[in-house]
Amino acid sequence: MEAVILLQWTFDTFLGLGLLWLAWRALACPDLFRAIVLFVAFGLLLAMAWVSLDAPDVALAEAAIGAGLTGALLLAALARLRSSETNVEVAGQPEKKGLKVRNPQWLPVVVLLPVAAGLGYVVLSLPPDAVGLSAQVAANLETGGVSNPVTAVLLNFRGYDTLLEMVVLLLALLGVWSLGGAALRREDAPGLVLDTLSRLLAPVLILVAGYLLWVGAHAPGGAFQAGSVLGAAGVLLLLAGWRLHAGLAALPLRLALVAGSGIFLAMAVFTLLMEGQLLKYPPAQAGILILVLETAATVSIGVTLAALFLGGRPPNKQDHR
């Protein structure tokens, strides 16, 4: 038993040091491309930290979003930045201007050391044992409709968090779209490997998303994880040159984008009228209601994430006039 505990401690210590080192390298490395790749590796290591902290639901979300989609977004932005920078006459500047430092470096260190020390002191001064709200969650799990406590919190006990979050996703996409039309990418044909692989992987990813959605009721998984896997499938297809059919780009796309927040809002109003309380489901129907909400949220999250990756608003039929 001693050896197991020692092994666990060694693992945790090295994981923590690795996280700090990777974050430092990602933030200090002169080349932006390498910095982003290091950041993706940091996300994967962080997913392992979530597993070590008994948070498999967070680990799934981190692996799909934190490491996968954020990395894809950053790399796509870097590629567009490089092409726009070479177009506008700044090509003469040194390549390593990503490392340009503005202030004398000791000043922020002097200011931040007390901040870090204070935060560390506050964290260490917390009581070593605290159950938080887990007793309340466990006591109400019977009426929650699902047996996975994280899904119960996300969709039932604190459903309004998720409702507002769907709106935040929609707002972010509206912001991106209102900043301009679709940024056209290079339209060269994808390589044979990418083309074949995306055809093989996209259906598998959709299947995985469906599985995660279903299994989220009683095991790690749920709408966010399923939605981000769906978004990853969309990103893969977009990379391989797939574009939404122009007939689907107008109303059907927008319906898919607002499905999550729309159905959530309708459910909120319905429960407010029927039960007198926002998002308080009748215990007998809670399971099926949560599944309906999660399905709509999964579709919306997946489509929104893929649309965020594409950048601009896909052209409508009307735009072709």
């Binding site: 700090l20 934190g66 920078e85 964290v123 917390l126 887990s134 991106v176 981000s228």
Partner: protein
């Protein structure tokens, strides 16, 4: 000290590293990376402190909040990257103007 506090301290370290990089780097892509590292530090503190339940199952409420936070962070990152690209298209630089030279 338990493993929960070890990870919480790593979270504090990540937050401070990110804050430092946010201040000293001029390039906006680097600032966005730094903000993401800061956010991940906060998530790590939250999830680590939820683990203080001993042998029992960790508190599910911070887990749910962190999952929500991860999705909000990715959408905010996407919006910030678009703003950066627009700035770079308009001015030719992905940096904010330096106050001291004016």
């Amino acid at each position: 000290m338990s493993a929960a506090f070890l990870y919480a301290l790593v979270g504090v370290g990540l937050f401070s590293l990110g804050l430092y990089a946010l201040i000293v780097h001029a390039h906006l892509l680097r600032k966005i990376l730094a903000l993401n590292v800061m956010g991940n530090g906060v998530f790590l503190v939250l999830v680590a402190l939820a683990r203080r339940t001993g042998e029992a199952r960790p508190d599910a409420v911070p887990h749910a909040m962190v999952i929500t936070g991860i999705v909000v962070a990715v959408s905010a990152t996407a919006f910030a990257l678009t703003l950066m690209l627009k700035l770079s298209a308009a001015t030719g630089r992905a940096e904010l103007p330096d106050d001291r030279r004016e």
